[in-house]
Symmetry: C2
Subunit: 621 residues, 2 copies
């Protein structure tokens, strides 16, 4: 009933098999010059005429025969019989070989006296100076840039023969709807072919998106047979993993040869490659994160190897802000955010969940962890493939810790001031270590509301502190239940908890302690919902009777809710950054009406203390 990959092909072997099996098809097309930016030239381009075609004057002055001017000096001016007035850019008339600047000429009644001799070619832009007829303008393999277009137009070239690859994109899945349609619960918008077309177009390929195909072998076979006739390369999106309804491998095997299925890479493990009528057919996993990885690491590599232009990605060296673990045997590709922190570029990994397409949106680039590595330590140097302009590293603010909606609102309001806030979700404790090591700009930390913060609240070792905290907002938390559970009821009902380090858990622990209730007395204390929605679902499904969430979350689910207390969201920032433009902007925004209005719209927050700066005290006062 359930199939597994027999064995994984290593990433390196898979790339080698791909290149060995599929040499460049060598397809070209002739296109108008205006459409050629980003395309790769397939035949050398020669100049059809010289530029300039004739000798031109580069000065306003007179054209002369240089021989006539020999011996002319200030105290011995020479009167010329043969001369002709020329302006800058004008053609040198036949019979003349030099230009004298108008300042050095006395023009009289049809005569002309000069006080300086001229050498042959003086102030003349010679024919062919830029390019000579028949000279090579561009060799093969050149990627056309905007100023190449300008020059080619100047040289009279109006079309170009360029390398070309036509790609058929076939999305598979009963659950899919086209972009713009609203998916049913459990369904999804088909976005992979949209992404793929934009990515491959950027490399100069032509893509055709086929309609969504049903999840059955006959439909897939029909679509593949059609596409393989019309394109040099076909991609099947979805149907590639080892689930009960995944038929891509069967179809490829029946139409041609399956070369590999399952590669030691993450994401994208279920990728497959087959050869149908001698053409490559990729089976691309349906999850967008995995599809993006296969598109970039397999298909784009093949296209580049076939002679198309690489997608513009800039690689830089950077330092890891936090440890990253990676499975041996898997080439891993991790989305990251990056920023210049002090005098180094620091990078933070994003969620590696296959279902979190937002990690692509939030990322500034990615790092590649070789299959032979178990990961990287914090501070290790890594290569980052940037997907943002490198100059933007200077505007990025790297924040680690709790990623709350208020942080997003702050981030959006920071952009008109020239900053781009990137918040990477980690536990508070890990965020604070990263901050103390100088690897991020700020830590986003949530603690129950309290009069003042001690270093010991934040750091293991409270050896003095050089940090301040800036209040972002306070969230009101309470107990959601079907029937109005309050704190003291917790010993008698089934509770659903949250993970250690999250604000709801911290608040729960603090309140239980002050009420004299031990965790052992709370049934379900050890169960953990992954999100507020998880708490709600457990209560709705009668797996639990109560859990902690914000008021609004309970209201939407029509559950009852009783107040427990406030959790304060804060940015912890080095004291030394107090006067920095970024800090000044953050404080101004947090105190602004614009920010407070936006946060009030979400509901469940108090912004009374937002923008307040408090010291982090080195010891208990």
């Amino acid at each position: 009933m359930k199939r597994r990959y027999f064995s994984l092909t290593s990433f390196e072997d898979a790339i080698r098999i791909m290149k060995e099996t599929f040499p460049a098809p060598g397809v070209t097309e002739r296109i108008p010059l205006e459409q050629a930016v980003g395309r790769v030239i397939a035949e050398p381009v020669y100049a059809p005429y010289s530029v300039p075609e004739v000798n031109l004057s580069v000065m306003d002055g007179i054209a002369v025969r240089s021989a006539d001017t020999q011996g002319a000096m200030d105290r011995n001016p020479v009167t010329l019989e043969h001369f002709q007035r020329v302006n800058t850019g004008q053609v040198i008339p036949q019979g003349y070989d030099a230009v004298i600047m108008i300042e050095d000429v006395w023009l009289g009644d049809g005569t002309c006296r000069v006080r300086k001799s001229a050498f042959p070619g003086q102030f003349i832009r010679p024919a062919g100076e830029d390019i000579r007829k028949g000279e090579l303008v561009l060799p093969r393999s050149h990627i056309v840039r905007p100023f190449d277009i300008g020059a080619l137009a100047t040289y009279g070239i109006t079309n170009l023969l360029v390398s070309s690859v036509s790609i058929g994109l076939i999305p598979i899945g009963d659950e899919l709807v086209p972009p713009g349609a609203r998916p049913k619960p459990g369904g999804a918008v088909e976005s992979n072919t949209l992404f793929a077309r934009h990515y491959f177009s950027g490399m100069g390929a032509t893509c055709y998106r086929y309609p969504i195909t049903w999840d059955d072998p006959e439909s897939i076979t029909t679509a593949l047979s059609l596409a393989i006739e019309e394109h040099e390369l076909v991609l099947l999106f979805g149907g590639s993993s080892a689930g009960t309804r995944d038929y891509a491998d069967q179809v490829i095997s029946s139409c041609g040869t399956l070369l590999f299925h399952g590669v030691g890479m993450k994401p994208g493990t279920p990728v497959m490659l087959g050869s149908v009528e001698g053409k490559p057919v990729f089976g691309v996993p349906g999850f967008p994160i995995a599809a993006a990885c296969v598109i970039k690491e397999f298909v784009a590599r093949l296209l580049e190897w076939w002679g198309l232009a690489p997608y513009p990605i800039f690689t830089i060296k950077a330092e890891l802000a936090q440890r990253i673990a990676s499975d041996l045997g898997y080439e891993e590709f991790v989305q990251i955010s990056a920023a210049r922190v002090g005098n180094r570029v620091s990078v933070m990994p994003h969620s590696r969940g296959n279902g979190v397409q937002m990690s692509l949106v939030r990322s500034d680039g990615l790092i590649q962890i070789p299959a032979s590595y178990e990961g990287y330590e914090a501070g290790e140097e890594v290569f980052v493939q940037l997907t943002i302009p490198p100059a933007h590293l200077d505007r990025n603010l790297l924040v680690c810790g709790a990623r709350d909606e208020c942080i997003h609102i702050l981030g959006d309001l920071l952009t008109p001031r020239g900053f781009s806030l990137h918040c990477c979700n980690t536990l508070d404790s890990r965020a604070l270590v990263t901050l103390r090591e100088g690897r991020c700009h700020a830590a986003s930390v949530a603690l129950p509301r309290t009069g003042s913060w001690m270093a010991s609240d934040l750091f293991d070792t409270a050896d003095g502190t050089t940090f301040m905290r800036v209040t972002v907002a306070e969230a009101e938390l309470g107990l959601a239940s079907r029937n109005g559970v309050v704190l003291d009821d917790l010993t008698g009902i089934r509770f659903i908890n949250r993970a250690r380090g999250l604000p709801a858990r911290t608040l729960t622990d603090k309140l239980l302690q002050s009420s004299g209730i031990t965790p052992q007395e709370v049934h379900g204390y050890e169960t953990q919902a992954k999100s507020e929605e998880g708490v709600i679902t457990a209560i709705q499904n009668d797996s639990a009777d109560a859990g902690v969430c914000r008021k609004k979350t309970a209201e939407i689910a029509s559950l009852s809710w009783t107040h427990l207390g406030y959790v304060s969201y804060n940015l912890v920032i080095p004291l030394s950054c107090l006067g920095d433009p970024a800090t000044i902007s953050i404080l101004a925004i947090l105190k602004s009406g614009l920010y407070r209005d936006a946060v009030d719209c979400i509901g469940g927050y108090s912004t009374a203390g937002s923008g307040q700066v408090s010291p982090v005290f080195p010891m208990v006062m």
Copy 2:
């Protein structure tokens, strides 16, 4: 009659004036998602629904109520009444809060036994895991990338409000013809607006190219008045220098205010900026090299400052291969070629002639020399703004010296083998110094044909040699004249010479010496034509009687030609590179029929010795 700029505005001041006078107009437009790659988002984008909207299974298995499974173990299986079969990606039915993998389940006749307990949320992808309804997807100022398009489609977003600037492009000049038309002698193809449109489109601006406007104040005024109504920014191309027919400054002054005219920058000194109806109007020099510089350094900076996406340019550190001089007071922008030579990236400057648009085509990027610098020394570290993919630095071969047509043919034939040859024109002597310092891959050197080369032929200090020479081709040179001049006639006629270091000059000197003629005896020995075409023109215009050129050049001009001797074009390469893939490819191509046929087509070359490798002898044998 001739106007001069009163005084130059410094580059820094000009940029400051531009930014102070013209704040962002803040224009936006709503466009379909599919057209948004490369555009800048103008309002925050929020998720219209959660993804996923409901809880989904991440495994093939059964949905259960976790509470029912408590205590289940291998030796104590639990039989479940309530369960439902689910596959990967399917919706978790109402009432269930966990999934148990099918492997851990015994399914019987409508019953089900499990051997492991499940925790709430087990193997469930919770609703909102990727994004929650109302959560921020993208903040303002984000530049849309292909995978952002994919994610936005997934989240049900079909259009975006993006920053927008409309630009009017007005080419001015009686001598101009549109792309595709053949210019008259002295005319030129109007290519600046074509380049500008492609460059600005890459930043997300919309451009409108107006027809070519005559060089008179009325026509320019009419065009400008029309354009300023329809666009946020107008560019006048041409008419900006201080020639007799340059009216752009007059027109701008009469329609509005001229802010500056003439900036301390090269190229692009004649740039002007005015304000007409509060909108910026640039006067852009007509020479494409200068226009490209103004477009990039002024207009693109303004657009980026207005919030558009930067044009993708990658900046790297590199070492200068040769000294570059620069005028104090001028911010200078120099086109360069770049390649990895050994373990550093080495850059060579291209021609800085205003009329050589090919320097843009040949370049890999540019360096900026601040106005306060007199230049850079060889070996100095400089920042290079690359216009090629950074990875291509590894395929580039940097050659210094004589740039002959045969070198171009070699370069074109190298591209299918993965190399890109860049030849920067310098004197042989300078090229050899650069090679000896390890700052280029090879020197292209032309010497009269000879049996063997001594180090002393190449280097000042012949302290042993570690170089070899590879013959590229031999060119036959002779004396062009109207009436069959031969070498012995040179003492009695007017000769036109070439510059020291060029093959024609070296051959002339060698032959004069062996004939016992001194330079003083040759009338015109000190005159120098800049090109072979210059030699021909001087003879045709009767400024000289004879000069040295190739047979074909004389034939085309219908001049008579008498053989003088052969000049051998060679690549000088370190001996240590003999086994390198690049050297092997070069040798294979030079010996190939493809190469020889192509060179024979040019005419005037012998390829009999092409591809021959000879040692450079350390001393006279």
